[in-house]
């Protein structure tokens, strides 16, 4: 005998500011949750990379080794390794615990905009302004990439990896999807320089934001447009966009200091979250909970669905259990 399915709740949006972290590392170029969402990684323009506790906002470790500002970071699925890329044209593989540089990979001709592990952290993929994506092997001691994807005709701005696919957004206005299993390259022409690309969590759609202040949701298999989200400002900066934890909303940074929330299906603006006065440059959505990280200038803000105090109580209990803590009961 099965219990009836719980009625689908109205998705909660992370609109309450939980805390602000002053990172003390210059401008925060990118902010990222780790794989399970318990930690926060920030890339600073002072060449440092910092690891924070997401719940308390305390600094756990600082990774130094880059020669110029750090532009992107990704953590491995087991939290044992980090990879980061920088304007110094290098990609660095870090050991999380010791903070040592495991490998420093040179090869890009220009600054490296984005970096990503694959699912098993056996390959690092880095996209650079030189128009190439390089696939680095983390297993072997080789310092040459496994493969160089040089199909893009301009710099690579964004890169995502799924189980067997690489999604690469380039300034040449195209989103390229390399399907390793099929051995195919799908090129979607967007027209305007791409700033960020994402897979949807169900893996069926791709999200791409471009410099024409538009975020587009495309069907992955056919390339047809499922939704077009606009209203924000994105004309010059490389701004992030993402999908919420349940694929219900599309989020994008904006140059006007807000984070825009659109309903994915209705294509309507749900929330315009005021973050600050400057450009919201980077954001990261928690993999399972309605929590959001935004970075603006030198600080990172953590946003949650409920106000601070209750969240704080809940976090004492939680650990792994989502949303069903005493706080929820109290409420």
């Amino acid at each position: 005998m099965a219990f009836p399915q719980p009625r689908p709740q109205v998705p909660q949006l992370p609109q309450h500011l939980l805390r602000t972290i002053e990172c003390q590392q210059g401008a925060v170029r990118a902010v990222r949750f780790n794989a399970d969402g318990n930690y926060v990684l920030t890339c600073g323009s002072d060449k440092s990379l910092k690891l924070w506790s997401a719940s308390r906002g305390t600094l756990l470790k600082t990774y130094t080794g880059h020669g110029y500002e750090v532009l992107d970071v990704d953590s491995s699925f087991d939290n044992s390794q980090l990879c980061s890329c920088s304007s110094d044209k290098t990609v660095i593989l870090w050991d999380v615990a010791s903070g040592q540089v495991t490998r420093k990979l040179r090869g890009h001709a220009g600054k490296v905009n984005c970096v990503q592990f694959n699912e098993e952290a056996t390959v690092m993929l880095s996209g650079s302004i030189d128009g190439t994506v390089r696939c680095w092997d983390t297993r072997s001691r080789r310092y040459e990439p496994i493969q160089i994807l040089d199909e893009a005709q301009d710099g690579i701005s964004s890169l995502k990896v799924s189980e067997h696919e690489l999604l690469i957004g380039s300034v040449d206005g195209r989103v390229r999807r390399y399907d390793l299993r099929m051995g195919q390259l799908h090129v979607d022409f967007i027209g305007s320089p791409i700033t960020c690309v994402c897979f949807s969590r169900d893996g069926q759609c791709t999200l791409s934001s471009s410099l024409d202040s538009t975020v587009r949701l495309l069907d992955k298999s056919s390339g047809e447009m499922l939704g077009e989200y606009s209203g924000h400002v994105n004309k010059g900066y490389k701004l992030d966009c993402c999908l919420s934890d349940k694929d219900t909303h599309v989020l994008s940074c904006s140059e006007d200091g807000h984070v825009y929330f659109w309903d994915l299906v209705e294509v309507s603006l749900t929330l315009k979250l005021p973050v600050g006065k400057a450009v919201v440059q980077s954001l990261s959505f928690h993999p399972t909970e309605p929590r959001l990280l935004t970075s603006m200038e030198g600080h990172v803000q953590v946003w949650g669905a409920e106000p601070e105090t209750e969240i704080g109580e809940r976090e004492v209990v939680v650990g792994g259990e989502p949303r069903t803590g005493p706080a929820a009961v109290l409420k």
């Binding site: 401008a27 905009n113 696939c135 493969q147 710099g155 206005g173 799908h186 022409f189 490389k238």
Partner: protein, 783 residues
Amino acid sequence: MHLKLVCQPPLNTEEEEESHATHTATVLAVNMASDEDSDEDFVTYGTPLEPLEEDEPVRKPVPVHEQTVKDEKGRYKRFHGAFTGGFSAGYFNTVGSQEGWTPSTFVSSRQQKAEKPNIRPEDFMDEEDFSEHGIAPREIVPTDDFASGKKDQLKDKARAVSSLAALIPGDTGLLEELIAPARSSIGVELLRKMGWKDGQGVGPRLKRKQRKQNDDAVKVYGCAFPPNGSEESEDEDEFAPENVSFAPKDVVPVDFTPKVDSHGLGYRGLNPLQALGGGSETGHINLFTLQSDRTTSLFGDRNSGQQRRGGIGGQAFGVGAMEEEDTDIYHKDSMSNYDNVLGGEEPGDGLYGWTVYPPPDLPRDYRPVHYFRPVVDSSTVSPIVAQALQASRGRLSQDAPQQGRHSLDSSQRCDMLGETPLQGPSSVFELLGSKDRERLNEIPAVVASAKAAALQASSETQMALKAWSGPTADASKTFKPFAENPLKQARYDLYITKLKQGNKDALESSLDSSMTEWERGRERDEFVRAALLYKPSNSSLSSRFTRSKHEDDTDSVDVTRDQENDMDDKQAAVKMKMFGKLTRETFEWHPDKLLCKRFNVPDPYPGSSTVGMPKVKRDKYSVFNFLTITDSSQVSRGAPSASKPPSSSSTLPHLTPEVSNKKSRWDIPGQEPKDPLSAFLSETRSEVLAAKNQTDSPHQKTEEEEKEEDEEEVRPPMDLFKAIFASSSDEKSSSSSEDDSEEEKEVAPPASDPIQSSAETLNPPVSAQSTPAPDISRLTGII
């Protein structure tokens, strides 16, 4: 009834039994009835004890541990286990040594290979146990019953025949006789029992008369026994009484002696009987005679009264002084020995059935001597020598087929063979429809404009002229840029020589007039460039360098096979938000094997060695390159204007008059509407363009629009040219790729103009500065 169980021998008498009854080990006597019954009633079991001697001392009983048991062959047997309470690993009556099983280690090296142990269960068994387990003895021994029987004469004869070819001539199986078994075989025994006698043949008895008639009637085909093989019996033939049947004659077994020596067929060595026995009836030893003759002499005549003379005689031995008559010691073979007629009479014409053809007529200037013409590359020798060669042979060797026939083109082959050119349609234009031809006829106007542009490069020609007209190094020392193509090199040399002479139209006159316009145009460019590059000052330098042995093919370039197609359609599709088919393109892409492995994905193209996009080699110079030659100049000109500061971006680069003039009908391949949808798209595109131009510069818009419209109707479809010039269907020219990218650079800005231009002007482009560095630095400054 008496039952007596006794361990005593039954031969003992009753008295004895009674007397010894005291010390018999076990005597069970059950006397059911009276004692006086006879001994026959006793049934005895067991082995009786030895009879005791009266005076023999009582022997000590042998203790158990000293008792031994022997088997039937007298070998000691040993009890194991329960009998003796001991454990035996098996030495005395099993296997191994005193220590039991000897552990052996397997050792094998390259020098000493280990023997493959072929151990059978029999190795561990006693011979007497074989029968118990049904293992038959392995040796194959003819039993006496089946051993060969008495020596029979026939066999001897056969052996004698074979012995001729044996190592010891005349050996009739002496050795075999020595060891012959005494008894005859079972077959012979059986035959004997059936009435057969030695020396007879096998079979029903025959009447002699009959048999003889049969012999006469029989016609023998193929191999038959020599007729005199049965000479012996001929004598008996006379005796043929009626009513008497005879056993059939015995048959000499056919000799199937295998040939084991390396002598010629039919050769036999000197027969010592004949050679030393002093002559024979043949007079000389013929080493090559029929075997049958020899058998005859062996069988029949050896013992027949043959007079023997002493001494050595025969051919090659000369005639001794004691010889009476001169035997012919020199073997003279006369032709009469041979039958030189095959079949019947020979025909009188002497042709023997052959058809005779007359010999070929030789040409008048035929000389029965062949000489090789010296092959000299005209460009390597001085002009005088070359001229002399040319005069002597009428042709220089440069078009001699030294590169192999495959490197020649059809016209060259045609020249060499002295054929008249084909009469078919001389050009592709004749294959075109009249309408297309009209269109093409309008090309020269455009080509002329292109030429004008090219003539703009006449300054280069002038420079080349200036560089070469001086009294500098001779042509033989100059660098040969077209060494691969001797004809082309020859033309280039001609051009250079004319340049040196100061000839102003050196270029035009040195080109091959039979070539097509675009070929000539291409060569024109190449020559001028080469002349400038390798001008005399450089050539003095170039003489210091040797050419690399293996020159990479500079005429081809690696190009990705699949190219993105039309940009304009996509732009328009994006404008109309028609994402999907129009904006999506799918290419074959080969991931690296290792990458697949790391991603836990099977290699999608197993066996393929390519990585990335499949590449193809493409001619640097193809038709399409020529067609876009003006386009490249346009780009080179457009590039600086594109890199102008953004302040001047209000006047768009592609709208500057000089560039728009340059815009030829050839530069955008595949822009033709292919289907209604793209037609529709191009319409909207032009609308968009028009709208945009209106905002930008209204007076130029009309010009542009008109031009575009003109082009739309004038331009022949690109597919036509591809069909004509492209060698295969899947090929796409590199030019189209260049085109695309160029086009992209050029066309993309206006399409995404409102956004792009503002993006460029207001903010730095993403690729250059994608991060808000200025703000941050300000901010950090504040902090």
